[in-house]
């Protein structure tokens, strides 16, 4: 990875919330970007200005505001497509979040193409969003789920995967980067092998798209799901990338306005991709904010973001290793995003998080929507500190000091 140093001072100035003083009088140390990222002024203002100047419903209007809103909404789609290097903007479907993107594939492609006994391969490190939709499908259709195990060093078990591919699976749906372990999975290789075995692939990019340079064409991913809110964009919007021919072959999902070409009382003809999958008034302001977020990150450069986060990962692992009674779950820094989920002897993660909070440090405690992975790790929950382009080494130091305070209280 190239070491293009980010000017963190300049970047932090873009994020108003980082100046927040908490009731405790402490300054916010935000180490919870894996749950949701903070937003730069450019994103906040894009939406604010839209509501103050342009707001109208899209596609169906020809007055000035409607034309402007439509153009802004579609320009954002292009910005997002460029960000992941999709070959066309229309391969990007707006959804609410990663979760809806995955469900969309489960409700449309999977229900149209899979039958009882067909195999879907997931992994043991999936987020609930990439488990439950397939469990619902299994209960309904008798599809069979198989899971790629996690190795002892917290990596995707490539050998086991090769074995599972012999089952002639129809779909491999896997996370590109674990939100608990930080494990970065070798997506390109996983996809290559899946295609060799005749399977399609869905990449859960919720963590990878915000934190790594992601190129869907280079990966050759069939589907990629991600959320704006984790990549400095607004809540309420996400995307499903899909290859054009696949999207065209899929039945629609939700029915309603905008996803139709013509409607009669008893029948309709679906609209073209991507509108076919965007029923009703979409998240217009949010799409514009999403586009602004993609442009913001692209302008900084995802290589630089990833390089900065890699440095943070190395540093936090080093510092946490100094503390007795702390166990970090996840692979070596080499294969890991900037996420440190850990267990602390004798103290429940909630209590760790609460005491850290009293020091102004925001971390997450719980199962992080990955209960099966926690089961596998032999814990109920963990404390997770996660880092993004705006975090500094001083914040890691604050975390470490906070952990010592936890030790004192529960000592």
């Amino acid at each position: 990875m190239p070491k293009t140093p980010l000017d963190i001072g300049l970047i932090r100035a873009d994020f108003p919330i980082l100046n927040r003083e908490l009731a405790s009088g402490k300054k916010l140390v935000y180490l919870d970007s894996t749950a949701t990222a903070q937003k730069p002024i450019a994103v906040i203002n894009a939406m604010d200005e839209f509501y103050r100047l342009n707001n109208a419903n899209i596609h169906r209007g020809i007055h000035t505001l409607a034309e402007e809103s439509t153009a802004m909404y579609e320009k954002a789609r292009q910005q997002i497509a460029d960000f992941i290097n999709a070959s066309a903007a229309r391969e990007v479907i707006y959804t609410r979040n990663t979760t809806e993107s995955i469900n969309l594939v489960a409700y449309t492609w999977a229900r149209a193409n899979l039958k009882a006994g067909d195999v879907i391969i997931l992994t043991e490190m999936e987020h609930h969003s990439n488990l439950v939709p397939w469990q619902i499908l299994t209960a309904e259709r008798g599809v069979r789920l198989e899971f790629v195990p996690v190795t002892d060093d917290y990596l995707f078990d490539m050998d086991a995967y090769r074995e599972l591919l012999k089952l002639e699976p129809k779909l491999i749906s896997f996370t590109h980067m674990s939100n608990v372990l930080g494990t970065i999975n070798p997506a390109k290789e996983i996809i290559r092998l899946a295609h060799e075995a005749g399977a399609l692939t869905l990449v859960d990019g919720a963590q990878s798209v915000p934190h790594l340079p992601v190129d869907v064409q280079d990966l050759d991913a069939d589907f990629m799901a991600f959320s704006a809110h984790k990549m400095v964009g607004p809540t309420g919007i996400g995307a499903l990338y899909g290859k054009m021919d696949l999207l065209q072959s899929m039945p629609p999902f939700l029915g309603g306005g905008d996803m139709i070409r013509t409607v009669h009382l008893r029948e309709f003809v679906a609209n073209e991709v991507p509108y076919k999958f965007e029923a009703g008034t979409p998240a217009i302001a949010e799409a514009i904010g999403f586009g602004a977020a993609a442009a913001y990150l692209q302008n900084i450069g995802m290589d630089a973001v990833a390089a900065h986060e890699h440095e943070m990962t190395e540093y936090v692992l080093e510092r946490l290793a100094e503390i007795p009674g702390i166990k970090v779950f996840g692979p070596e820094a080499e294969h890991k995003g900037a996420v440190a989920s850990f267990e602390m002897d004798g103290v429940h993660p909630h209590d760790v998080a609460q005491i850290l909070d009293s020091e102004g440090i925001a971390v997450r405690a719980g199962h992080h929507c990955a209960q099966p992975l926690h089961e596998m790790c032999g814990v109920q929950s963990t404390t997770r500190a996660s880092f993004y382009l705006y975090n500094t080494k001083e914040e890691v130091d604050a975390l470490v000091e906070g952990i010592y305070k936890v030790k004192k209280i529960f000592g």
Binding site: R60, G61, I62, E67, T262, E272
Partner: protein
């Protein structure tokens, strides 16, 4: 106002020159604009790879109907390969006005229908990519 509604648009809307349905024909295609229900169908007679005659039918606003009429006029005597190569800009030039994205869809509906027919596409294969 002039840039919005050049006289030719209103004239062609009120009295189009190429409205009709050719039978027999070598090319037929029809489609709707989902945002407003405008409809265009096009019939073309081809001889030796060249457009011998063409016509359109349908309903819609002045822009969609005038664009169809002017477009059909422009392809008479054109090799089919050239018809396939027509772009958005050709239609904009025919109309001679600037259009926002929604109105542009009105203007380009006939080109979309024409090119889908010329390429022999199925209904499912038609997309805005044809007219970008």
């Amino acid at each position: 106002m002039d840039d919005l509604y050049r006289q030719i648009i209103i004239e062609r809307y009120k009295t189009p020159h190429y409205r009709g349905h050719l039978d027999p024909h070598d090319i037929f295609f029809e489609d709707d604009n989902p945002t407003c229900g405008d409809h265009i169908e096009i019939t073309v007679q081809v001889e030796d790879g060249v457009v011998k005659s063409a016509a359109f039918d349908g309903h819609g606003c002045s822009i969609s109907q005038a664009a169809a009429d002017l477009l059909i006029e422009s392809i008479h005597g054109k090799p089919l390969d050239e018809v396939k190569a027509l772009t958005k800009d050709d239609v904009i030039e025919l109309l001679g006005i600037e259009l926002g994205p929604v109105r542009l869809k009105c203007a380009l509906l006939s080109l979309k229908v024409l090119k889908a027919g010329a390429y022999g596409l199925g209904k499912e294969e038609v997309s805005d990519a044809l007219v970008e």
